[in-house]
């Protein structure tokens, strides 16, 4: 039975929501409701059956379901209620969540604080403007992953993958293991957005070619995909005539980026960053709407679930503080992305908070022998040399209590090359 009021409502029962709820609980707030639209908690980890999760956090290599189970067990030990099969429909700035489930129908619950942990979704083929008809056999990589790993069906035998994000790479290996032939992975950029280790263990191990600076320019087939044309692109990402190459295939997978799922956040009036497509937050992960926090992939698309857990624990802890002690006055400065930086999160710092702050950011291109510089009011706060920086790998710098004390105005993160 769901109550009308909770101290904390967490929207989403994936890795972010689970970690935020646990952390809030362990920081003294025990009246928590987690809303999860699927039939069980765990989020995207349920279909990520490959290993490599948890290396940072648990110092061992786990599969997605194993990693999720650690958190689900802890949530169950604390009797935190997860309302599964329950979809949040709307959210207001007063922290009222309207949701729907088969048992409860449509209902509204109000929290003293809300943690947004809805995760992200895949960019679709429609967003890419690839000409052609609409034959069967076109999937996003994550959908194909669900078919193979959860439903146990192989969605195709002869495969071409567009986009070299991690899910695309993982699916190249997965489909190969299950007997499909992956003919090519095409990447429009001159570099892969996936982890280097995944290029090695998912493509190189199986002799799957990666075509950088290439895209699909045509999808053929009436009922079912029968082939694609791939072309090289120039520096403006325009296909170069004469470089077309035909590949016969019955399946095309798209792994072309993830978009934080912020429909609910927008309804509540939460300010969204055009760069991350997630909320603009303080280091506590509180958004522009007091008492609403955001963490995990709904805030910024992370490379590793370990970092999602870490960020979400911070959000849960800070939400618990707010619930227990009430709101504190903020002394706010902006964190700006300078040269060669595509985004920084958090975008704001509350200088009344003293604990160490980790800034997460991504660079805009591939750079070698560069220097990360953090400055404020013309003063260099931090310099950190980097041998290699690539957009596919999130970078971090830490601001200590002493460094925070030296901040005079807006903070800029930039890359010296």
């Amino acid at each position: 039975m769901i109550k009308k009021n909770y101290d904390l409502i967490v929207i989403g029962g994936g890795p972010a929501g689970l970690a935020a709820a646990l952390s809030a609980y362990d920081n003294g707030v025990t009246d928590i409701l987690i809303l999860e639209r699927e039939e069980s908690a765990g989020g995207i980890l349920k279909q990520c059956i490959h290993n490599g999760f948890g290396l940072t956090r648990f110092k061992e290599s786990m599969t997605g379901p194993e990693y999720a189970a650690r958190f689900i067990d802890e949530v169950q030990k604390r009797n935190i209620f997860i309302a599964t099969g329950t979809t949040a429909l709307s959210l207001t700035a007063d922290k009222a969540v309207t949701a729907i489930s088969a048992e409860e129908g449509v209902f509204t619950v109000t929290g003293k604080a809300v943690v947004l942990a809805m995760g992200c979704r895949e960019r679709s083929k429609g967003a890419l403007n690839i000409p052609g008809t609409r034959p069967a056999g076109i999937f996003s990589a994550g959908t194909a992953q669900k078919f193979v790993n959860i439903k146990g069906y192989l969605p195709g035998k002869e495969v071409v993958i567009l986009g070299s994000g991690d899910i695309g790479l993982i699916m190249a290996r997965r489909m190969t293991l299950e007997g499909a032939k992956v003919h090519a992975v095409c990447e429009i950029m001159p570099y892969s957005s996936g982890l280097k280790r995944n290029i090695v263990q998912c493509l190189d191990d199986f002799g799957i070619p990666l075509y950088l600076n290439h895209t699909i320019t045509k999808i053929e087939g009436k009922e079912r995909v029968t082939g694609v044309v791939i072309s090289r692109v120039d520096e403006n990402k325009k296909p170069v005539p004469g470089t077309e190459k035909h590949i016969c295939c019955d399946t095309v997978l798209f792994s072309v980026g993830l978009i934080p799922e912020n429909e609910l956040s927008k309804k509540a009036g939460v300010e969204i960053s055009p760069r991350t497509k997630g909320a603009v937050v303080y280091q506590s992960r509180e958004t522009s709407v007091p008492g609403i926090f955001a963490c995990g992939n709904v805030l910024q698309v992370h490379d590793l679930v370990d970092f999602v857990s870490e960020e979400s624990e911070l959000a849960g802890k800070c939400a618990a503080e707010l619930i227990r002690n009430g709101a504190r006055e903020k002394r706010s400065v902006n964190v700006l992305n300078g040269e060669h930086i595509s985004y920084v999160c958090p975008q704001r710092l509350d200088l009344n908070r003293e604990e160490r702050v980790k800034l997460f950011f991504r660079v805009g291109n591939t750079f070698s022998d560069c220097k990360i510089v953090v400055e404020s009011g013309g003063v260099r706060l931090i310099e950190k040399k980097k041998k290699i920086a690539v957009p596919g790998e999130m970078e971090t710098v830490s601001l200590s209590k002493e460094t925070l004390a030296r901040i005079k105005g807006d903070v800029t993160v930039r890359l010296e090359v």
Binding site: I49, L55, T63, G64, L177, E178, R197, Q201, D303
Partner: protein, 115 residues
């Protein structure tokens, strides 16, 4: 002989150079941790991989499985064949052995649960 490798032990993906004389690894450079050294030593002699996949349960659901230690890379497809011949009956808990000694002493274990 010299080998240039990317370490796959963790997301850092260190670029490692390893040198082999005969069947002996004589030098490893570029790794940031002991796991990287071990990876490079194995990789130039006999590459090893953990295999993860799924097994269908009697009720139709899929159980995530993995080898509990790395198996020879050259054996991956024969391991996959054995995995796809498995059948499990729920309930299955994480860590339960699904197939003992699936390859060179590695067991196939449940990497998820079906209740």
């Amino acid at each position: 002989m010299k080998y240039r490798l990317i370490c796959i032990e963790c997301p850092m993906g260190c670029a490692i150079e390893a040198e082999k004389e005969g069947d002996t690894v004589v030098s490893v450079a570029g790794n940031s941790c002991p796991r990287g050294k071990l990876y490079a030593e194995n990789e130039v002699i006999c590459p090893m991989r953990v295999v993860t996949s799924t097994v269908r349960a009697t009720d139709g659901r899929m159980l995530p499985v993995k080898t509990n230690k790395p198996v020879k890379k050259s054996e991956i497809f024969s391991v996959m064949k054995k995995i796809n011949a498995q059948k499990v009956t729920p309930p299955v808990r994480i860590g339960e052995v699904i197939c003992r000694d699936i390859s060179d002493g590695a067991d196939l274990v449940a990497a998820g649960e079906l209740l």
